[in-house]
């Protein structure tokens, strides 16, 4: 499966940068504009899936191979769990306590700025990373699986 025709390849090589940028924008500005961790992460995943469809699986694997994607998945999930846990440790308050409590919450100048919602942008980034990596992983795993079982040994190192 060497990917699609030349037209699709050239267009997707331009478009992939825009999609990736748009996904990052959606993740970072999740608490100000519609979007957020989930939508941004899914858009990031669709950018990689576009690469895989247009250029074939080997090209996509070179960019983001299977072990790296599963590691990113675990790192994103651990980051999100860490944000939750340090709410617990920070003054033993609450499990998901929003511990970055600047006084901006009350006043209005810094209300609608990028860095204005405590842990929400951080968990947005963690969720975006996790959703993006895991959805690309799913499509990759499904496309790798060949009935003749030639590939897919993510962990047969024993």
């Amino acid at each position: 499966m060497k990917g699609m025709t030349i037209i699709v390849k050239t267009i997707s090589s331009w478009v992939k940068v825009l999609i990736f940028l748009f996904g990052i924008y959606i993740v970072l500005f999740g608490h100000l504009t519609p979007g957020g961790g989930f939508s941004g992460g899914v858009i990031l995943a669709s950018c990689y899936v576009l690469l895989m469809l247009a250029y074939g699986r080997e090209f996509a694997e070179k960019n983001l191979s299977l072990p790296v994607a599963s590691k990113l998945d675990c790192v994103g999930a651990l980051l999100f769990a860490a944000i939750a846990l340090c709410g617990l440790l920070y003054g033993a308050a609450g499990f998901f306590w929003n511990f970055i409590q600047w006084e901006y919450l009350a006043d209005k100048e810094t209300a609608l700025h990028l860095v204005s919602a405590g842990t929400i942008p951080l968990s947005n980034i963690a969720i975006g990373l996790k959703v993006g990596a895991s959805l690309f992983l799913v499509v990759l795993v499904l496309s790798i699986f060949r009935p003749d079982m030639s590939v897919l040994d993510t962990d047969e190192k024993e």
Binding site: T33, P34, G36, F38, D107, K108, A111, L112, V131, L135, V138, V141, L142, F145, P147
Partner: protein, 122 residues
């Protein structure tokens, strides 16, 4: 009347998931049921002539920084939207698992038709 149409979509999905013999058709039935429930949840929170629950410069009164009263009594309910965001990704997760089981069963049995995969009794 809208809820009833949404419920009809749910029942069509249930019918497809229960009576169809092809594995991919059963998976399609379950997906249609998930869509219907997500739609039902969002329709619960809708308000006639409502506004999306996002506060921007316009809705903040310039002086006091309080949220404009017009926004408060015209904003749509944010809670069902949070639930549906979770439910959409749950349905994608279970879809991925179901399709991987279907592909693996197709590789073993050579067919998607559950009547021919009747190795198991009971």
């Amino acid at each position: 009347m809208h809820y009833a149409l949404c419920f009809l979509l749910f029942v069509i999905g249930l019918y497809c998931a229960v009576t169809k013999k092809n594995m991919v058709k059963i998976v399609i039935g379950i997906i249609v049921m998930e869509y219907a429930v997500n739609l039902f949840l969002i329709m619960l929170g809708y308000r006639l002539g409502g506004v999306a629950p996002i506060i921007d410069k316009g809705q903040l009164e310039s002086g006091t920084g309080q949220i404009a009263a017009s926004f408060i009594n015209s904003s749509v309910d944010p809670l069902p939207q949070a639930l549906v965001l979770t439910a959409i990704v749950i349905s994608l997760g279970s879809l991925a698992l179901m399709i991987s089981i279907c592909i693996r069963t197709y590789e073993k049995y050579g067919t998607f038709d559950i009547t021919q995969i009747r190795r198991l009794k009971g």
